[in-house]
Amino acid sequence: MMPLFANILTEPVGVAHYLVVGAVLFVCGALCMATKRNAIGVLLGIELVLNGANLNFIAFGSRYLRDSQGTIGLDGQLMSLFVIVLAAAEAAVALAIALNFYNSFSSIDVDQADQLQG
Amino acid sequence: MFEFANPAVFLTWLVFLPAVVALVIAFLPLRGETIKWISLATTVVVFLMSLSMIFGWGSVKFQTGEEFAGMQNLFAIDWIPSFGIQYLMATDGISFPLIVLTAFLCVLAMGASWPIKKHEKAYCVLYLLLETGMLGVFCALDFFLFYVFWEVMLLPMYFLIGIWGGPRKEYAAIKFFLYTLFGSVLMLIAILMLYFNSDLRQLPADQLVATGVVSPHLEESVRQERVQNILNSDAPQHTFNILAMQYMGQHTDLFTTPNWLGQSLQWWAFVLLGIGFIIKVPSVPIHTWLPDAHVEAPTPISMILAGILLKMGGYGIIRICYPICPQAGFDLAYVVCAVGVVSMVYGAFAAMAQTDFKRLVAYSSVSHMGYVVLGLGVWSAVAGNDFNPEYWEMGMNGAMFQMIAHGISSAGMFFIVGVVYDRVHHRNLNEFGGLFAKMPVYSGLAVGIFFAALGLPGLCGFIGEVLVVLSVWNFSVALAVISAAVVILTAGYILWAVQRVYLGPEYKGPHGEALTPITFREFSIAAPLLAFAIYFGVNPQALLNYMTPSVNKTVVELTEWAKDNPSVTQSQQPATVATPIRPQIES
């Protein structure tokens, strides 16, 4: 295991590089969720976050990127597929919510949806 | 489940049949008379079962005779083995007459319950539960089981007084309950004291089987193994077995260890148990629950209360107090006797001042139960140091007889009072009179039953009183003289009451028109009581045959204990020559 903050630019491409990309995607998604007032935008952020996570799974699961030989390298991809399916389902539900939301408020500004406030 | 030849099955059914029927009644949609008929039938069946033990109709028979002085029909089943608690029941000459009396009075009192119209189902259910509790107390020989039954009996009584009673029923019920509960708490303490000091390892192997600690019905090999397990164990083997405790009390030093304030363990146990039982008897000064409970309770419950519940105190003293704590019994004999004598005098005086008919009868119970306590208490066997148990046997048998006799006469008296109360709804002695003319048969029965209580020869009260009183002189002349004086007071209050109620030209109180002759139902309750009062008065052997062997066994064992006990022999004066009291001469 390399040190936590080793210089990734000097290292050969390994898991860490993928992780960095995944982290960037994740942070972008999270920022998108936190800043967009448009519900669709928020959904887009969610997708980004999910894909960031997917990237991590694949990186960890890849037989080419790992030292251990005890796996055929499909477990990470399997998880990713699950996530993708989940994301699709989620998108469907979320779009339906958005649609209903729009029917109620004539807007998809999530800031208006503060009925749950304490 | 129905092998009645097995004492375990038989006694269990005898005790629990009323409870089972109570459960059934509780969950069936019955109402009114039907419930009463079912309850009556149940009590009759229980009574017939108890009779079947006398006559040997079934295979479980109660044997009489010297060789059957010990426990009969004993069975023991482990209940909570980790605490040595058993489901242990048996009968002997002390408990058996009381069982039959209980079953008998329950039939009559159920008959007397007919006028009760309020919440009939609840009444019958509680009544039957009460019967189970009472029968259980007399059958149980495991202290824990005994205590459970003791409490089971208490609660229905509380409700029966508190719901179906008179104007001050709540007060009376609470008073009864608290008094008795106080007594049972003391009892519980004593039970636990004894339990934690008991040790089965000190019993010989044959006693372990005889007392039912190891069930005698087990196979020989299993029995031997269990006995050896007990005898060879390292830790003390505690027990709740009353019979085993009796043996420990009389033959070992387990209960004689100094305990508290310089008194031995058994001294304290005796005092605690004694108070518990004497509350039930009840004796002065812890008797005041009785008049209130009686006055407020409905007639049948008064009959049960006076006829059976009071006997449990006496039963406890003779079964538990003395055999388990002989040393304390010996030391406190005078106290016990004095309590008895004081009750006799006090109750008689108090009865004389009453204007409430039922209260008068209640106080007469206090007075009459004083004879029981006195008779149980006379340790006359050790008087004069000749260890002749005969006078004490007479006293104890007299006390036992008095219990049965009082069960008959007091139940009868309460019923007699109930009959007029049902008609005119008051009990003021000064507002009666002239009932002889209006209700001749009733008055005849009433006078008969009152004279049984008065101790008239030929009626049952006489035998018990005379046996007790005659046995006292050897124990204490002073107590004997005082107890003899009670006959005057008894005659006084009973005759005065009879005069005020039955004699005289006319009825002085309200509702005179309601004084109709007694019904067949009422007659068939009072007449058996009077018949038994006469029968036992004329033929006391009929009863004594059953109780004498067991009572004598208790007395002889205690006398043997006293003879071997240095503290007793030294407390007496230097031995005088013991003379055979009845030398035989050739004709």
Binding site: T35, D114 | G384, Y391, L470, A491, Q499
Partner: protein
């Protein structure tokens, strides 16, 4: 001989059967709601009369057909000589030797008699504990049979008489003595059969006392006669006075029984048996009875406490006091049993119930309260005579003496005819007790038998008078002998008999003979003891004087002179033969029952006489002088020695003199009216008031016993029971409730509730505070999530770093 117990048992049980038949036979219809017709009620009297008459026939057969042929009187009377002489001088080991010496100085021959002939056995065991037994048995000696004959004969007469007397009860009755609240007199059904029901029960109980083989059985029947007496006195249950008198009789008797129980306990605890005689057992041996235990043959039949009594006495002895060797115990036992007799025989101080008992119908007074039940006390003293120490006998004598005098004085001024007779009965019973107490065993019981006849006669006569004039008050009578001659002259016979009229040393009415022997014994006692003991002579003589005075006063006031109340006089009539017949029969006995048939008669009749008969029953150890131990100077003289001329002549003359003097006095005052009764009354004002008010005994007892008892009972019932004990109890309850309130308020509300509330409040506040975080802004939530995740990550990392790994 062997069937004697069985025969007597039949005679004894017949009245019980009669009682049972009447009781059940007449209760069943009542139970069924029917009314018994009067003609049916009458059958009850036939049953009862039949039973008792048959009982008499059996008793008479037992006496004349069995007992006398077996034990002819000629052979067994008047002797103590059967005793071997060597026992004579032998002093009892329990008697201080000083007396034995005194004896020999006086030259007294010290021999006493053995037990009389008797049969004893047990029929039935009531209870048995080891060797202790309470049994129903028999003890049959001459006294038993004599009592049987006397009781059944008199009872038969009175039963028959009662058929006539109680005739009123065969109709609906209007009781003029009872006024209802609406001012009318009481109307009720007649109760003819009930009277005979009680009478039968009484006869059974009384015969039970007579045949009783042990003290326990005696006590049983003692109580039973008491209760019969209660029922019979209170026969008119509607009359308050009657039921009160019945209560009084029973309760006063119970006072006596209290003493009796003490006596029983003392004997029972030290002898272990109640049997009088030695009881035959099935295996041919004998169980020893009380008498043979106390009068050992080896002691020459002298009274001596048993070893167990001596032990008992010693174990109860306080330090330093003189040992009494069981004498005290024996004394207590004797006096205790005598207390019972005192109650039953209405002896001072328990005499007050008997006059009140006259509330019952007159046949009851005749049977129960003069002839039999009240005599049972005397009988019992006679029966248990062997257990009485000389000191106890002295007590008996003193009580008898006081009683006979007191009662006689009261009888002089009484105006109720039955009360005069009642006091006379008390007085005569005093005579009997006196005789027994002075050692005159035969004298006392002889008087018992003669008295039974003439007193029942007197009562029946008075009943006949009352039946005729419907009043008890002698002041409303007078001159009745013209209207009812049979009653008048039979009553005169009774009066002469009770007064003791006769020709000295030749022949007289029955009372003459029996009173004579009493006076003889008294004079002998006086001669033996000297000093104050002469009071025992003077007082009975004074009593005898008063007896003849008041009896003739009664007769004159009732039958002689002019009628005082013409209305009543005109309605008076002689009673029917069913009543008069028994009077005549009893009159014959009142004349002749004291006689002894001449020697020359053949067979069993030779020397036949009640006195001789009784002499064969003299209990063990009663001949010869008996010396007191606790009172060393007391001597109870030998009864046989009382018949010597030195005693007999003064006794005979003084007795007849006082009797004649009494009659003369009564004649002067009440027949000739030379001295008017009114002026006498004025002269003896104080005395008159005392006797008129019965010496204030009722008031005294009311004040000393009844009221305090009621006060104590009220005190106990209300002050002690409800006041003290219940108050303590209630105060416990209040304390408990107070404590509970304190716990509830302070503990529960303040401490526990407050703290719990505080926690809740704080939680609430915290919630309020935190709610502002919950804005509902989605984007904010995301920010929170991100920030918190990062924060958690940092915390976890640091924690890992420094806490776990470090």
């Amino acid at each position: 001989m062997d069937n004697l117990p069985t025969l007597l048992m039949i005679a004894w049980l017949l009245p019980l059967a009669s009682f049972a038949v009447i009781c059940i036979g007449y209760s069943v219809p009542q139970l069924l709601g029917l009314r018994v017709r009067y003609s049916t009620q009458k059958i009850a009297s036939y049953i009862a009369v039949g039973a008792i008459v048959f009982g008499f026939l059996i008793s008479a057969y037992c006496l004349f057909g069995i007992w006398l042929p077996e034990h002819p009187l000629a052979a067994s009377s008047h002797h103590g000589e059967e005793q071997p002489d060597e026992l004579a001088g032998q002093a009892s080991p329990f008697r201080p030797t000083a007396f034995a010496e005194e004896h020999s100085e006086e030259g007294h021959k010290h021999a006493t008699n053995g037990p009389p002939l008797y049969q004893a056995g047990d029929w039935y065991t009531l209870a048995r504990f080891g060797s202790l037994k309470l049994t129903i048995g028999y003890y049959i000696d001459t006294l038993t049979i004599a009592m049987f004959c006397m009781v059944t004969l008199i009872a038969s007469c009175i039963h028959i008489y009662a058929v006539g007397y109680m005739h009123d009860e065969l109709h609906d009755v209007t009781d003029h003595e009872v006024t209802l609240s609406n001012g009318e007199h009481l109307h009720r059904r007649g109760r003819f059969q009930r009277f005979f029901q009680y009478f039968s029960l009484f006869s059974f109980s009384m015969l039970g006392i007579c045949i009783s083989g042990n003290l326990a059985m005696t006590f049983v029947f003692w109580e039973l006669v008491g209760i019969c007496s209660y029922f019979l006195i209170g026969f008119y249950i509607e009359r308050h006075s009657a039921s009160t008198a019945a209560n009084k009789a029973f309760i006063v008797n119970r006072v006596g029984d209290f003493g009796m129980i003490i006596g029983l306990m003392a004997l029972w605890s030290t002898l272990g048996t109640f049997s009088f005689g030695d009881v035959d057992k099935a295996d041919g041996t004998k169980e020893r009875g009380m008498f043979s235990m106390l009068h050992e043959q080896s002691n020459g039949y002298e009274l001596a406490p048993t070893q167990r009594m001596i032990d008992f006495d010693a174990s109860r002895q306080s330090e330093g006091s003189e040992p009494t060797n069981g004498q005290w115990l024996l004394f207590v036992a004797g006096v205790g049993i005598f207390c019972g007799c005192m109650g039953k025989s209405a002896q001072f101080p328990l005499h007050t119930w008997l006059p009140d008992a006259m509330e019952g119908p007159t046949p009851v007074s005749a049977l129960v309260h003069s002839a039999t039940m009240v005599a049972a006390g005397v009988f019992l003293v006679g029966r248990v005579y062997p257990i009485f120490t000389p000191e106890a006998l002295l007590v008996i004598a003193v009580i008898g003496c006081i009683t006979l005098f007191l009662a006689a004085t009261i009888a002089i001024t009484a105006v109720d005819i039955k009360r005069v007779l009642a006091y006379s009965t008390v007085s005569q019973l005093g005579f009997m007790m006196l005789a027994l107490g002075l050692g005159g065993w035969v004298a006392g019981l002889f008087h018992l038998i003669t008295h039974a006849f003439f007193k029942s006669l007197l009562f029946l006569c008075s009943g006949s008078v009352i039946h005729a004039v419907h009043s008890n008050d002698m002041r409303q009578m007078g001159g009745l002998r013209h209207k009812m001659p049979i009653t008048a002259y039979t009553m005169l016979i009774g009066c002469l008999a009770i007064a003791g009229i006769g020709i000295p040393f030749v022949l007289g009415f029955s009372g003459f003979h029996s009173k004579d022997v009493i006076v003889e014994q008294a004079i002998h006692f006086g001669q033996t003891n000297g000093g104050y003991s002469w009071l025992f002579v003077v007082v009975p003589l004074a009593g005898a004087l008063m007896t003849s005075f008041y009896m003739f006063r009664l007769w004159y006031m009732t039958f002689a002179g002019k009628p005082r109340d013409h209305h009543r006089y005109n309605h008076a009539h002689e009673s029917p033969w069913v009543m008069a017949g028994p009077l005549v029969l009893l009159a014959v006995f009142a004349i002749g029952v004291g006689w002894t048939l001449p020697m020359q008669m053949p067979g069993v009749l030779s020397r036949l006489g009640v006195e001789n008969l009784l002499d064969t029953a003299r209990p063990v150890g009663q001949l010869g002088n008996k010396h007191g131990v606790l009172l060393p100077n007391l001597v109870i003289p030998d009864e046989h020695a009382s018949h010597v001329a030195a005693v007999k002549i003064p006794a005979g003359w003084s007795a007849i003199l006082v009797a004649v003097a009494g009659i003369a006095g009564a004649t002067v005052v009440y027949l000739w009216e030379v001295i008017s009764a009114a002026s006498l009354r004025r002269y003896l004002n104080l005395l008159y008031h005392a006797t008129w008010n019965k010496w204030w005994f009722d008031e005294l007892y009311d004040f000393v016993f009844v009221r305090p008892t009621l006060a104590i009972s009220r005190f106990i019932a209300f002050a002690l029971d409800r006041g003290l004990i219940d108050s303590i109890l209630h105060s416990f309850a209040w304390i408990y409730r107070g404590l509970a309130a304190v716990v509830a308020i302070v503990g529960d509300r303040w401490l526990i509730d407050n703290s719990v509330d505080t926690v809740a409040e704080k939680t609430w506040d915290l919630g309020l505070t935190l709610r502002s975080v919950q804005t509902g802004q989605l984007r904010q939530y995301v920010m929170f999530i991100v920030v918190c995740t990062i924060a958690l990550f940092i915390v976890a990392t640091l924690w890992w770093r420094f806490a776990v790994a470090g």
